[in-house]
């Protein structure tokens, strides 16, 4: 139960690379799983490892979720996460460029734990990731696991 895995749901390969870089710059060594669209995210959370035996993956300790995703919308992913008893309490941080009020309120009403806007300035982004890492991986107590 020591492995604190971060699930990054991000379709933009540049943003993915930059986020990983930001995590590395902050010495966050945790394993980062990347889902590149909604379908992959759901598969990671609810599907099996594919290694045979129907073994379920351990749940991540936090999900960094982008809203604008192809195939299945980020907010829909959030809805499914909250709807399933296995992942109902899973901390979800919405990480997005959107400044629209409606995304903010929809995100929170669907049960997001946090809403962080991705700044254009990379230095600020690195700082934001540092704070996110510090909070969600170290300071915050994750909810009890159901497995």
């Amino acid at each position: 139960m020591d492995t604190k895995i971060i699930l990054l749901v991000e379709d933009n390969p540049d943003d993915e690379k930059l986020t990983l870089r930001a995590l590395k710059k902050n010495n966050i060594q945790n394993e980062v799983a990347v889902a590149r669209d909604g379908e992959e995210a759901l598969d990671y959370l609810f599907g099996d490892t594919g290694a045979g035996g129907g073994k379920k993956r351990p749940l991540p300790v936090v999900v960094l979720l982008d809203i604008k995703l192809p195939k299945v919308d980020g907010l829909e992913i959030l809805r499914r996460i909250r709807a399933d008893s296995r992942t109902r309490l899973l901390p979800v941080v919405i990480l997005t460029s959107s400044k629209e009020e409606q995304d903010l309120s929809k995100g929170y009403s669907l049960g997001a734990n946090s809403y962080v806007r991705k700044p254009v300035d990379f230095t600020q982004f690195v700082e934001a990731v540092r704070q996110l890492g510090l909070y969600w991986l170290i300071l915050n107590e994750p909810p009890p696991r159901s497995d």
Binding site: N12, D14, L18, S97, E100, K118, P119, V120, D121, F122
Partner: protein, 356 residues
């Protein structure tokens, strides 16, 4: 007593006795005649009274007759008057008929106009619907644009910084300068996108009418500015209890822009003073924000509120030239005016009114 009178027979005494009787009878008859006469006189008097009464009655009846004749004459006059009224009424009825026909014509004309108005209204309704659709599309477009444009900007900035950090030592000063410029331009573009998005939102959003505490708003914004750059020495003088009627969010954008500008353009002065107040001009309140910073040349004042127009170089003071255009648009939506006075290096004062 119908016995014929014969000379009395007998002696003298007998004859005297008979004469006495005759005299007495005659006196009786005379008395009877007297009472009859009196009776007749009474009858006569009664008759005369009756005749007098009849006369009085006759006079009364004549009076009644005269009165009746007068009444008949009055009736006649009344009848003539009524006939006159009747004729006048008939005339009025004819006029009414004419008026009625005119009114019916007007009514028909009005109904036609109302039908036309209905058609126009339906057209306006359609146009309104189209505008709403266009607005929604614009909203969605702006949202997309802002979101989708930011992502590549983030990539440009991020990887430029990555280059600097990881390969900076392989670049000379010129090379590093180029990358810094790339980053700077990226930041600027991000700011432009945000400002333009705000500007378009200002025109499209619905306006609320509420009482806004401007003094409190100024204090909050000033606090926020202090937090971003605590090393800047600025004295804020805020008039107390200044309120206005308008849309709170939009007015906040105005104050953020004006105070942000005041803060920015006093940035190069060691000590600065920013003042917010309201003065009365002809019964209307005029709000102002005054700073003693860099100011500007009033000769260029007509460019002040133009979109993307700036009176300072980006090197001197950062900015996109959209802030004051946004301020002006909001003030105009409130039915007010905004203008400025300034002098180079002596500061600037921005005034605005809101419709009461």
């Amino acid at each position: 007593m119908a016995t014929p009178i014969e000379p009395p027979a007998g002696s003298l005494e007998e004859k005297l006795a008979t004469l006495d009787n005759v005299q007495r009878a005659t006196l009786n008859i005379l008395e009877d005649f007297d009472s009859e006469k009196q009776r007749l006189e009474e009858v006569q008097r009664a008759s005369l009274n009756i005749l007098e009464d009849f006369d009085a009655e006759k006079t009364r009846l004549e009076g009644v007759q005269r009165a009746a004749i007068n009444i008949l004459e009055d009736f006649d006059e009344e009848k003539k008057m009524l006939q006159g009224v009747q004729r006048a009424t008939l005339n009025i009825l004819e006029d009414f008929n004419a008026e009625k026909t005119l009114l019916e014509d007007s009514q028909r004309a009005l109904l036609n106009i109302l039908e036309d108005i209905d058609v126009e209204k339906a057209k306006v309704g359609t146009v309104n619907q189209q505008l709403e659709v266009a607005n929604k599309e614009l909203e969605a477009f702006s949202y997309s644009v802002s979101h989708d444009l930011r992502a590549p900007l983030r990539s440009i900035d991020g990887f430029s910084l990555a280059l600097l950090e990881d390969y900076g030592n392989k670049l000379d000063k010129e090379g590093r300068d180029y990358l810094e410029r790339v980053r700077g331009a990226t930041q600027h573009m991000a700011q432009l996108i945000d400002d333009m998005l705000n500007l378009s939102r200002v025109t499209r959003s619905e306006m609320r009418h509420e009482t806004v505490d401007l003094s409190a708003m100024v204090r909050e914004i000033a606090e926020g500015l202090r937090k971003t750059q605590p090393e800047q020495q600025v004295e804020f003088i805020t008039a107390e209890n200044v309120t206005a009627t308008g849309d709170e969010r939009l007015l906040r954008v105005v104050m953020q822009n004006l105070l942000g500008n005041a803060w920015k353009y006093t940035g190069k002065h060691a000590q600065a003073r920013i003042e917010f107040g309201v003065k009365d001009e002809g019964g209307k309140p005029v709000f102002y924000i005054r700073d003693d910073g860099a100011g500007f040349n009033i000769a260029y004042a007509d460019k002040l509120f133009g979109v993307f127009q700036r009176l300072h170089r980006r090197g001197e003071f950062p900015g996109t030239g959209v802030g004051l255009a946004t301020v002006q648009r909001i003030i105009h939506r409130h039915g007010g005016r905004v203008w400025a006075e300034a002098e180079v290096e002596k500061g600037a004062t921005f005034y605005f009114t809101l419709s009461s």
